[in-house]
């Protein structure tokens, strides 16, 4: 009996969503190594890590919202607003400071998150509609009231930090450098993991995503949880946006817009169910990694850009089919 339970557990681990994504990633890496061995080395990992950086921060936010049974399409607009408005403010006011920029962007994000929290938690508006609205509202406000031109002349400290590296690797092709900002998503992963797994607040996010009525009847404060979710996400999105600016060493109003679909796809590939209640940090990391490995290496392998779009689309569809087939199998499996 115990033995049986153990083998079943091992079987479950090997057929879990995360493992399937790991298989796909492994398959991709073998393929890449086979086609272009020189592209396969420490540099690849560093490049992938760097390109994952902000996307992972956004994906963790999106994951929290999806677990709670919602969907957030407003974060690109929020991130854009926070990074552009913060940069503009600092440039015009002539102040400098990396930490300060994060604080300002995070505070702006908090305020914007409060807006989403109000619409979802108090007004009970479906999350997709609410965030579609705030997305357009905030992006529009940015363009009308704050500005449209790229800001490339960052204050010196902020400009400098983008060139700070944790470590560098010398390869034949050149130098690959790991930005210091890689620490941010790593810390965030740990925080989100602890939050979701070991706090009642985190469990209440799962609970309202599983069944909001049950959560209410069980005595969870659904409204407070929703406010927390959107405000927390707001802060992280603000910081994520600022990171994006510091890395690129310019702030612009368009580049992040439209990235929400890819982020949602990464989260869903990572095993979060779009219907809510399921998802975890490891899966999301893997989902983001997969999408970045594919898009980065296709460039290196010389695959035309439109083929990349096609392949990533294919990957998303396959990934989501696997998730939903598995969910269906669970639903149809004999009940215990």
């Amino acid at each position: 009996m115990n033995q049986q339970a153990k083998t079943e557990r091992i079987k479950n681990i090997f057929s879990s969503n995360q493992m399937i994504v790991i298989y796909i990633i492994a398959g991709m890496l073998i393929l890449i190594a086979g086609i272009n061995p020189s592209a396969f080395g420490p540099a690849t990992f560093i490049d992938t890590g760097r390109s994952m950086l902000t996307m992972l921060m956004f994906a963790l936010c999106e994951m929290i919202v999806i677990i709670s049974g919602g969907i957030d399409v407003s974060f690109p607009a929020f991130a854009t607003f926070c990074m552009y408005a913060t940069t503009k403010l600092m440039v015009t006011a002539g102040i400098d400071g990396v930490l300060l920029s994060f604080v300002i962007a995070g505070a702006m994000g908090l305020g914007l998150g409060l807006l989403n929290g109000f619409l979802v938690g108090t007004c009970k508006i479906p999350t997709l509609i609410a965030t579609l609205g705030t997305s357009s509202l905030i992006h529009g406000a940015l363009l009308s009231f704050v500005g449209v031109n790229d800001i490339t002349n960052l204050p010196p400290q902020m400009d400098e930090v983008g060139k700070q590296y944790l470590f560098q690797v010398q390869t034949d092709a050149g130098v690959s450098s790991m930005s210091i900002f890689i620490i941010l998503p790593i810390v965030l992963c740990v925080i989100v993991w602890l939050l979701l797994r070991y706090t009642m607040l985190g469990r209440s996010i799962y609970a309202i995503g599983g069944d909001v009525n049950s959560a209410q009847r069980a005595g969870f404060n659904v409204k407070r949880t929703q406010y927390f979710i959107y405000m927390f996400v707001g802060v992280i999105v603000g910081i994520g946006g600022m990171t994006y600016t510091l890395l690129a060493r310019n702030a612009n109003t368009t580049q992040l817009m439209g990235s929400e679909m890819m982020v949602i796809a990464a989260v869903v590939i990572g095993g979060a169910r779009i219907t809510g209640g399921h998802g975890n940090v490891l899966g999301t990391i893997l989902g983001v990694a997969l999408i970045n490995i594919v898009s980065n290496n296709l460039i290196v392998m010389g695959v035309p850009t439109y083929w990349q779009t096609f392949l990533i689309g294919l990957l998303i569809i396959v990934g989501v089919i696997i998730t939903s087939v598995k969910a269906k199998r669970v639903a149809l499996a004999p009940k215990i």
Binding site: Y198, G210, N213, A215, G219, I336
Partner: protein
């Protein structure tokens, strides 16, 4: 301390203009198993909500364990030891068994963090109390209904429950699971926990409850030890009318409406042959998985037969899809009206004409006036308890919803109507109404097939009953030769 745990007196509650409770008294002793019975819409659920603090009463008094509450909040009720297990159990499908059980306890003790070891210990202990054995690590979405219920019971007991109210606890359980549930209830009773079971199923009331309270139209109409109630008194109290168990024997003539010759569908049924005459009511029954429902689905084209022939009015027809079936005048009232028969969010009226919208189309335009007339007509003709066709159908009780499903098909003027479980989850009063409607149909020359596992229903309404066993036709019997015992023996007989 007296042995009365809960005492409510003169509870009144109205919603808008409707008075749901008109001064109800109820008393529950410690360790008592009481049944609260009544038809849909009698105020049972409102009363539970008042007791659990979800609704505040307009008037009346709630005394729990000697303490009087002026305005009972849900938290007060929970702290006083009142737990409600709802029909959907209010479990979280995405969380494990252990967490589902322990969650409320942790929430009530205001913990900020989760200690997973403790969660498992709590859950294990709670399950041991009622002798349940469910793997702790499994997600609740994988559990059977019976085990979900056990999880809900474990959770209720953890909150130091002194009164557990169960809303229709046996609806989706098999006979064996019901027996198991009753064992658990007796175990709770031995520990001094009172249980109130809300139901409208008679047999269960007799098996488990000691005392009975019956509500009708927001009033308590009868109360007493269970052995003071015999079947007729129970039904009379619940419905307010004498319901005779009339036997209906339709007069059939020799015109065949439907001839089914050797139809099969792999994995569902094989080689089924029968005829349906004008003025005839044919019953089809069998155990779950015997293929009884699948025959109905095949005739309606949802899961068409793969071989055999079907003739209607002497002409061979092909039924490959629902569209084919409807073209040939076949209507089908599905087993699960909520998911298969109704548009829950849409108005009652829209539901009544949902299957016949095309007939209102004149020259590319919908005749709204005619549609509206039909809606009113059906609400009146079938005495649907609705003020107008406008409210969404989900606001109606099960019996009234089922009448609307019937209306939907009657409005298509069917030649053949197949009803799968026509009175599942319908109260006795509406059941009688629905049977009357069927009789009217038959008198108008419509062929009616009733698929059901409600044996008295079949014996009362059908001329003949087909018995399915393991996908094969096991026999066709005249109901004049049958009674309930004989029929149930035939069902389970080994072929």
């Amino acid at each position: 301390m007296s042995d009365v745990f809960l005492k409510v007196t003169g509870i009144k509650k109205s919603f808008g203009g409707v008075q749901a409770l008109k001064g109800v008294d109820l008393e529950i002793k410690k360790g008592e198993v009481r049944s609260l019975a009544g038809e849909n819409g009698c105020g049972k659920s409102t009363l539970i909500k008042v007791i659990s603090g979800a609704h505040s009463a307009d008037a009346g008094e709630v005394v729990i364990d000697g303490k009087r509450y002026d305005s009972l909040t849900p938290m007060d009720a929970i702290c006083a030891g009142i737990q409600v297990i709802y029909q959907d159990f209010a479990v979280f499908p995405n969380l494990t068994v252990a967490e589902n059980i322990a969650l409320n306890y942790e929430l009530d003790t205001c913990q900020k963090t989760v200690n997973w070891k403790e969660v498992k210990e709590i859950a294990q202990k709670a399950m041991a109390r009622i002798g349940a054995e469910i793997p702790l690590d499994v997600l609740v979405e994988r559990l059977s209904v019976a085990n979900k219920q056990m999880v809900a019971i474990c959770r209720a007991l953890l909150n130091d429950a002194k009164l557990v109210i169960m809303d229709e606890p046996t609806t989706a359980l098999t006979a064996r699971e019901v027996a198991r549930l009753f064992d658990v209830i007796r175990m709770m009773q031995e520990n001094g926990i009172a249980v109130m079971i809300v139901t409208h199923k008679l047999d269960e009331v007799y098996e488990i409850a000691e005392t009975l309270t019956i509500l009708r139209n927001g009033e308590k109409v009868a109360e007493g030890p269970i052995n003071e109630f015999d079947r007729p008194r129970f039904i009379k109290s619940m419905t307010g009318r004498d319901i005779e168990e009339v036997f209906y024997r339709p007069e059939q003539n020799d015109n065949k409406i439907l001839e089914v010759q050797g139809i099969s569908r792999e994995g569902a049924f094989q080689d089924v042959t029968f005829d349906l005459y004008e003025g005839d009511v044919l019953g089809i029954t069998g155990l779950l998985g015997s293929g009884r429902g699948e025959i109905g689905e095949a005739l309606f084209g949802m899961a068409p037969a793969t071989s055999g022939s079907i003739k209607m009015g002497g002409q061979e027809i092909k039924i490959k899809s629902v569209g084919d079936a409807m073209k040939n005048g076949v209507g089908y009232v599905p087993e699960d009206r909520l998911t298969e028969g109704l548009f829950l969010e849409l108005p009652i009226g829209t539901n009544t004409i949902a299957a016949s919208v095309k007939s209102y189309l004149h020259g590319g335009r919908l005749d709204y006036k005619a549609m509206n007339e039909s809606m009113w007509k059906w609400i009146k003709d079938l005495s649907v308890a609705a003020p107008s066709p406008e409210p969404p159908i989900k606001t109606l009780s099960g019996g009234n919803q089922q009448k609307v499903v019937l209306a939907k098909w009657l409005n298509t003027k069917p030649r053949l109507l197949i009803l799968n479980g026509p009175t599942v989850g319908v109260d006795i009063g509406s059941k009688t109404d629905i049977h009357k409607i069927l009789r009217g149909l038959v008198a108008d020359g419509v062929g009616v097939i009733v698929i059901s596992d409600d044996l008295p229903e079949l014996i009362q309404n059908c001329n003949r009953v087909l018995i399915m066993r393991g996908g094969k036709l096991a026999g066709c019997f005249e109901t004049t030769d049958l009674d309930e015992t004989k029929l149930s023996a035939l069902l389970s007989e080994q072929a």
